[in-house]
């Protein structure tokens, strides 16, 4: 091997540097090679093992520019794309974590419209293409903390929901914003389950919806959203438990009374309207003091302490000053 000597250090030739994509996927290639050997030996059991990585490059690109919003870009390492796109809670497609990736493919994301209605001066039906052009897209690297006790770091692409809200001009009566996910029996096998009173609905106080961190996301990892992650557009509220970040939005309604969200209806003593990430307020059945960061250092990784407001305390605590967070959970 020939090395260049420069400033006393030997540098490899650029042709010897492992391409970033190969390096990033080395665990995939190793596992795929082992899995091929294992599946040849074990026959039917191998089909139950996790499918090989779905790596970026399969979906249309959707780049986002740098965001100036405070707290918008954590320095933590993003979760592997394979994990982020095969470990999902999207009950419309089944209650197991792997079912959204398996069944969400049947969801048609074009044509797609979002109805804006309620206490606004400019209600209407927006085509998703028009929403994509409303504002320059930004990349936001957010932590996402699921109420179940696991978390991820995800590089979303979108813009602050406040940009859309400003355009539709909420009236003085608009105190809360309601969000509705698609609920189409033909495309969504999970709707047969009665665990949720479909359609899935979530809600925010208007000031929460207007917060710069509240994101209307159209993409992740520099591409459009995979269906199982809530294509073609979804809400992301990083300081709240993940179920508040409603997916595949079809309607946004501005109302004057605090709306009941889907999980509030299903289990009111377990899931509150605010659902701010709070290590000091336990879920009735489990503590929220720690979480497991998906993909972090394999089996031997310890659970990590959960942060107040999922680490966004500096940016959002002022929304709740004076509020008893164990009463208003």
């Amino acid at each position: 091997m020939l090395y260049l000597k420069s400033r006393g250090y030997t540098h490899p030739k650029s042709s010897e540097i492992t391409p970033a994509s190969v390096y990033a996927h080395r665990r995939h290639w190793l596992a795929a090679a082992a899995a091929t050997a294992a599946s040849a030996a074990s026959g039917s059991w191998s089909s139950a093992l996790a499918q090989p990585a779905a790596s970026p490059g399969k979906l249309p690109a959707l780049p986002g520019g740098k965001s100036a919003v405070a707290g918008a870009n954590t320095m933590e390492r993003p979760t592997r794309y394979q994990d982020a796109t095969t470990y999902n809670n999207f009950y419309e497609f089944g209650m197991e974590k792997d079912e959204p990736a398996r069944y969400a493919g049947r969801m048609k994301t074009r044509p797609w419209t979002v109805t804006i209605e309620g206490e606004v001066r400019k209600p209407g039906v927006w085509d998703v293409e028009a929403l994509l052009k409303l504002q320059p897209l930004e990349e936001r690297i957010y932590r996402l903390r699921c109420v179940e006790g696991w978390s991820m770091v995800l590089p979303w692409v979108g813009y602050s929901l406040s940009e859309l809200i400003r355009r539709v001009e909420p009236t003085g009566n608009a105190k809360f914003v309601q969000f509705f996910t698609l609920a189409d029996r033909a495309q969504m096998p999970g709707l047969r389950s009665s665990v949720i009173n479909w359609p899935y609905t979530e809600g925010l106080r208007l000031d929460e919806a207007m917060h710069p961190l509240t994101l209307l996301a159209f993409g992740m990892y520099g591409e459009v959203l995979p269906n199982q992650n809530g294509a073609p557009l979804r809400l992301v509220v990083p300081w709240k438990y993940g179920f508040k970040s409603a997916k595949s939005l079809v309607k946004i309604r501005f109302v004057d009374k605090q709306p009941k969200t889907s999980w509030e209806q299903s289990a009111p003593d377990e899931y509150g309207f605010f659902s701010n990430v709070n290590p000091q307020v336990s879920h009735p059945r489990w503590s929220q003091a720690t979480e497991r960061r998906i993909g972090e250092d394999g089996l031997l990784a310890k659970r990590r302490p959960t942060l107040m407001f999922n680490g966004y305390e500096a940016q959002v605590a002022s929304l709740y000053s004076g509020m008893d967070l164990s009463r208003f959970f």
Binding site: A31, S42, S266, S282, R285, T290, R292, R303
Partner: protein, 189 residues
Amino acid sequence: MKGAVFVAALAPLGWLVAGALLDRLGANPVEALVRSTGDWALRFLCITLAVRPLSSWGPRAARLMRLRRMLGLFTFFYATCHALAYATWDMGWDMTALAQDLIQRPFILVGTLTLLTLIPLAATSWNGAIRRLGARRWQILHRVVYGTAVLAIVHFYWMRLGKQNTAEVGVYALILAVLLGWRLWRIRV
């Protein structure tokens, strides 16, 4: 036959270990390990409880009874793996956290009790124990396994209730109800 069943019974664990080493357990391998070992403990409990009803179908089927001890011990084995996986990887053997979890999550307490009921059964599974206890007392002791079955279902149900995802629990409850119901029916008749 016993050898083949032994190897087959170890296969789920082998698959899990291989999966863990090859990073094929999905995004949350700890959860997959804890859940899968629990699933197999429950399945072996059902299989063990099915031996007596099945063996009553005829003289050839009666030979299944020879497998019952091994199947019962595998139930205990997987239940222990399940508890160890939880204590090691979910809780990192943090005794304070474990104690808190026992108090805060009733289903963990029930799970612990379930495992505890299996210990005297495993400890008295050897021929020497049967001789020392006497057949009658051994039989009465081992009826504890019916309590184990009930506790296991309660543990599983309470755990799944958090996300309202209890359909699978119903399937196992039904299977165990049939297996336990067969015993009741035999007593009546």
